[in-house]
C-alpha cells in the first residue's frame, strides 16, 4: 500500500469515526481508534476538512473534540425535515450567561452585582437548559453556590473550550476580568 493509499484509508476511517461518534470526539480517542499519532490525526482532520469544502457537511472543533455537522448554509433545508433548534436565549439570559462564562466560578450575588439586576430567574433557566451547573460552594458566610458553564454550553455556542470565548477589544475578556489566582489553572 502506498503512503497516499494509506492516508486515504485513514481519512475515510476518520470520517466514519466522526460520523459514528455522534457528538464531539476528543483528538486522543480519534488517534487511538486510527492507531496513529495525534499529530497525524490532526493532519488527517485538516485533509478531511479540505475534502469537505464542496460538500454539505463540515468538521467542527467543539467542546474539546471534533464533530461532523451540517454547513450553516443548508439550514433551511434541514429545518424543513427536522425540528428547529431550541429557542435562542433572551438578551438578559445571554448577559447572565456571559458573566458566568467569563467569571466562573461565580455566585448569584456576584452575577447580580455585575448586571445590576436580579438574575435568579435567568440562572434557573440556564441551569434547566443545562448551559450552566453548580460547581461548588464559595467558602464563607452562607457558603453560596458557585456556578460554571457546561459542555452543553460549549456546544451551544460552537466553542472549542473556555479559552475559545470571544475576545473583546483585542484582549481576552478573561484576562481583563480575571480575578482568578494563578493557581487555578485547571483550564483546558
Amino acid at each position: 500500500m502506498t503512503e497516499a493509499d494509506r492516508r486515504h484509508v485513514l481519512c475515510c476511517a476518520l470520517e466514519c469515526l466522526l460520523f459514528a461518534g455522534g457528538g464531539p470526539v476528543p483528538l486522543r480517542k480519534l488517534a487511538a481508534a486510527l492507531q496513529c499519532s495525534e499529530e497525524e490525526t490532526e493532519s488527517l482532520l485538516a485533509q478531511l476538512q479540505l475534502d469537505y469544502r464542496s460538500r454539505g457537511l463540515m468538521v467542527q472543533q467543539v467542546a474539546g473534540g471534533y464533530q461532523l455537522c451540517t454547513r450553516p448554509e443548508y439550514a433551511e433545508y434541514v429545518t424543513r425535515l427536522v425540528a428547529a433548534q431550541p429557542e435562542p436565549l433572551s438578551r438578559a439570559a445571554l448577559e447572565t450567561l456571559a458573566v458566568v462564562a467569563y467569571r466562573q466560578p461565580v455566585t448569584r450575588a456576584e452575577v447580580e452585582a455585575v448586571r445590576g439586576a436580579r438574575s435568579d430567574h435567568h440562572l434557573r433557566r440556564l441551569l434547566e437548559r443545562n448551559l450552566i451547573r453548580e460547581v461548588g460552594r464559595k467558602p464563607g458566610p452562607g457558603a453560596p453556590i458557585l456556578y460554571g458553564t457546561t459542555e452543553v454550553f460549549l456546544r451551544h455556542f460552537g466553542l472549542r473550550d473556555l479559552s475559545d470565548l470571544p475576545p473583546l477589544e483585542g484582549r481576552r475578556v478573561q484576562d481583563m476580568l480575571g480575578t482568578r489566582a494563578a493557581g487555578e489553572s485547571e483550564e483546558r
Binding site: 460520523f19 455537522c69 434541514v78 438578551r91 448577559e95 456571559a98 456576584e110 455585575v114
Partner: protein
C-alpha cells in the same frame, strides 16, 4: 455589528454615525453627562423626510435607547450591593465606582452580543441525532424491547390491584441486579422472565427489578432468548459463553 446605514447625529463634541457615538460612550471617550440626548432625538425626528427608512429608524431608536440607559446609569446612584459584595468594595468615591460598574457591565454586554452571534451560527448547524443503527451496542438476541415490555406488562397487570406504593427501604437497582444474578447462577437451564418478578411485590420493586434486568442485559451479564415468536422469554446468566 450593523455596518449598513447608521444615522448621522450631531451633538456637543461629536458628529458622526450614532453607532459610533454609542461606541465612544461605551469606551468612555464621550462623557454622556454632557450630551443633550433629547435634542439629539428631536433633531433626528425633525430631519426625517416623508419616506422613513424603517431599518434606519429602528437602528436610531435602538442606539438612542442604549444611550439613555447608559446615561441614566451614570447619573443615578447604584442599586445597593448584595451583601457579600459589600465588604470587598474599597472605599472609592461614588463616581469612580459608578464608572467601574458601567464599564464592567458594558464589557459583559458586548460579550453577550458576541455570544448571540455565535449562537445564531450554531443554530444553523445540525449534528447527527442518536439513531437506531448505533443502538446495536445492546445485544438483545432476537428480541425487541416490545417483547420485554409485553412481558413486563403482564407482570404489572398481576400487581395492578395494589393501591399505594410506599417506596420500600433499600430496594435499589444494584440490589435487584445482585438478586437476579444469584437466581440465574443457580439455574443453568435459565429462568422464565416472569419468574423474576414476585407478583405480590409493590410496583416500584417490579420497576426497579425490570431496570436492573435491562442494565444487566446492557452489561451483557444476562442473556435473553426466545425459542419461538411470542414464546416464553428465558434468561440466562453470562451471555458470552453461549
Amino acid at each position: 455589528m450593523s455596518d449598513g446605514r447608521s444615522p448621522i447625529v450631531r451633538v456637543a463634541g461629536f458628529e458622526g454615525p450614532v453607532q459610533e457615538l454609542v461606541r465612544r460612550a461605551h469606551a468612555g471617550e464621550v462623557d454622556l453627562r454632557e450630551v443633550d440626548l433629547s435634542s439629539m432625538v428631536r433633531s433626528y425626528l425633525d430631519a426625517l423626510g416623508p419616506e422613513v427608512d424603517l431599518e434606519e429608524a429602528t437602528e436610531f431608536l435602538w442606539a438612542a435607547a442604549v444611550l439613555v440607559e447608559l446615561k441614566s446609569k451614570l447619573l443615578l446612584p447604584p442599586k445597593p450591593s448584595p451583601p457579600e459584595a459589600v465588604g470587598e468594595e474599597e472605599a472609592a468615591d461614588l463616581e469612580e465606582r459608578l464608572r467601574q460598574r458601567v464599564e464592567e457591565y458594558r464589557v459583559f454586554r458586548e460579550a453577550a452580543e458576541a455570544l448571540a452571534a455565535l449562537e445564531a451560527v450554531q443554530r444553523r448547524v445540525f449534528t447527527r441525532p442518536p439513531d437506531e443503527a448505533s443502538a446495536g451496542e445492546l445485544p438483545l438476541v432476537g428480541l425487541t424491547a416490545e417483547d420485554l415490555f409485553a412481558a413486563f406488562r403482564r407482570v404489572l397487570e398481576r400487581s395492578e390491584q395494589r393501591v399505594e406504593e410506599v417506596p420500600p427501604e433499600g430496594v435499589t437497582v444494584a440490589d435487584r441486579m445482585q438478586a437476579i444474578l444469584a437466581t440465574l447462577a443457580s439455574s443453568p437451564q435459565g429462568v422464565l422472565f416472569e419468574d423474576l418478578f414476585e407478583p405480590a411485590s409493590p410496583r416500584i420493586v417490579i420497576i426497579v427489578t425490570f431496570l436492573a434486568l435491562l442494565e444487566l442485559v446492557r452489561r451483557r451479564r444476562v442473556r435473553v432468548a426466545q425459542t419461538e415468536p411470542f414464546g416464553p422469554i428465558r434468561l440466562y446468566a453470562g451471555g458470552r459463553d453461549g
